[in-house]
Symmetry: C2
């Protein structure tokens, strides 16, 4: 069921205007924006038709129309996703370059920039994807019968695994153990390691204990131990849809607190851009636009922007594209360094 060209044009004009003003749009408004001469009566009949098709609603009979989620969804399809940059924003690159020390810092800064340039709440999720392959395993004695396990994988370094050692270990225990671990598991994925574990090996028995701990940790990492950063929550208050009716805010705010739900939302797509608009898409009284950047084949970065349904999708898409270019170019610099 396709819309006529004119209906599409009217609908887009209406959406664009509503995004700007947050007030019901009348047939006269559209007439003004339309360009060519056209009577408001004609527009009215088109609007009535669009309403019947579910693209518009009227708050009350003597008001203009506002778009439904269905209308926004159609609108975002018209946004070009490959060139509409916004060069007038902050120079993201130099901003990020200055802070390239700690990964967490970088991501948080990025989220901050994203929130500041769009003036919406931003969320960034970094996630492992695909099977992590173990490259090297090191054991470091840290005293107190504990050891720190450092696992170098093809998608990064895992260094949050602390294991308990058996009571009285000998001198070369850790060395022997790590040699063994590397010999047996080097180059394997977690799945493969798990499989090999089942065909239990005598040689391993002495190290069964610590091995279990290491595998548990690896699985957590492999399973996508996503890191989530949310910035600019208070920007929600800038928009009348949350400023007037506070209850509208509850849905969005509690979504921002449920990091797992957020993660799922930004990452359950293969598309480069993902639009989630309205309740049916899991966001009551709000929208989420997210972009997925694949960093090195093994890590995904999802950058998202959350705001009212009446979000400035065009601007957001622009910023997200600009962000992608920036991230890519920074990583290239790092690479060649």
């Amino acid at each position: 069921m396709n819309l006529s060209i004119r209906k599409q044009k009217i609908l887009c004009l209406l959406v664009a205007r509503y995004i700007e003003t947050a007030e019901p749009v009348s047939s006269g408004d559209i007439k003004n924006d339309y360009g060519e001469e056209i009577s408001s009566a004609t527009i009215r009949s088109e609007l009535a038709a669009l309403e019947k098709l579910g693209y518009l609603v009227q708050p009350h009979v003597s008001a203009g129309r506002i778009p439904t989620a269905k209308a926004y969804k159609l609108f975002v399809e018209t946004i070009p996703t490959d060139g509409a940059l916004v060069p007038q924003t902050v120079d993201l690159k130099t901003y990020l370059d200055n802070k390239m020390d700690d990964v967490a810092d970088v991501i948080r800064s990025t989220a901050q920039v994203l929130s500041d340039t769009t003036n919406y709440t931003s969320v960034i999720v970094v996630k492992n994807v695909g099977n992590v392959r173990v490259k090297d395993i090191k054991l470091v004695d840290i005293g107190g019968d504990k050891a720190l396990v450092i696992i170098i994988t093809d998608s990064g370094i895992l260094k949050d695994c602390i294991i308990d050692l058996p009571q009285n270990i000998g001198e070369g225990y850790l060395k022997t153990a790590s040699d063994l671990l590397n010999r047996m598991f080097g180059g394997m994925t977690v799945d493969e390691i798990r499989a090999k574990m089942n065909s239990v090996d005598d040689e391993l028995n002495a190290y069964k204990d610590i091995l279990d701990q290491i595998i548990a940790s690896l699985e957590r990492y492999d399973g996508g131990d996503a890191r989530v950063f949310v910035e600019g929550t208070s920007k929600l208050l800038d928009y009348p849809e949350y400023n007037g009716e506070v209850d509208n805010m509850r849905g969005v705010l509690s979504l921002l607190e449920h990091k797992e739900a957020l993660t799922d939302m930004v990452s359950d797509t293969d598309l480069e851009f993902n639009f989630r608009i309205g309740k049916e898409d899991g966001i009551e009284h709000g929208s989420l636009v997210s972009a997925t950047y694949r960093i090195n084949g093994k890590q995904e970065v999802h950058a998202g922007v959350i705001g009212p349904e009446r979000m400035d999708y065009k601007k957001v898409v622009g910023v997200l594209q600009y962000l992608e270019m920036t991230i890519k170019s920074i990583l290239d610099d790092k690479e060649s360094k």
Copy 2:
């Protein structure tokens, strides 16, 4: 300038009632709560006096009174801070015990529990305090001309420092370097290390590069690289002070986003309990109650609760005490294990 017993009693009754109902309290209300027989006219004259002293305000002339920040401050002094437990809450201990794997997880869970049991937004800050003393330094080759530095200190393990190595290093470079580092700096505080650096040593020159990187990282850690967790933001919406006037929320919400400001607020006191009430204390339209637990002499945990000025201080103090006991007992278990 001390208040008469009766004024104090009336003030406390008024505050308690206002905390419960969020509505201006009249002389008749107090009369009902008072216990002994007393006329409302008497109470009225006391209320007028209290208003003159700055403890109360009237929204308008024919309404009851509501407490000022000054009144709340006096009120919280009457709360016993050493026994008023709230045993009917969730069994914090078993809840936390189950999740004792990852430190970040534990803290986040704790914040969650704190928020859920109080029904306010919670914040937990973990901070190093005093001078960190280096016990052991390890260097681990992680490929790509980089090494991971693991520094074991008396207040925990620092494992977020990745350094760039010089281009072409020899076989035993890392071993030699870490031996040297330990010999020179083992047992010293960061301040001492920095001092020693100045009296530059020939032996060091070969390692000057990596040393600088390590010290920078140590300083960040030593300077109190606080970890901050905020949970239950959306609970703010449960309270009419934020539900009606959204602008009241802006101050609190943006405070929750500024982790450094939050950190300062919960930690700039030596008291066990810290009450910050109202704008003069840095929280517009809100209050913060925080407790400080010293974990092992080297780390401080600050647990805080943020809500409207009209917060249920008694309940919050109870929960925070209960939390302290729980944390202590969990750590004791760990200790003896």
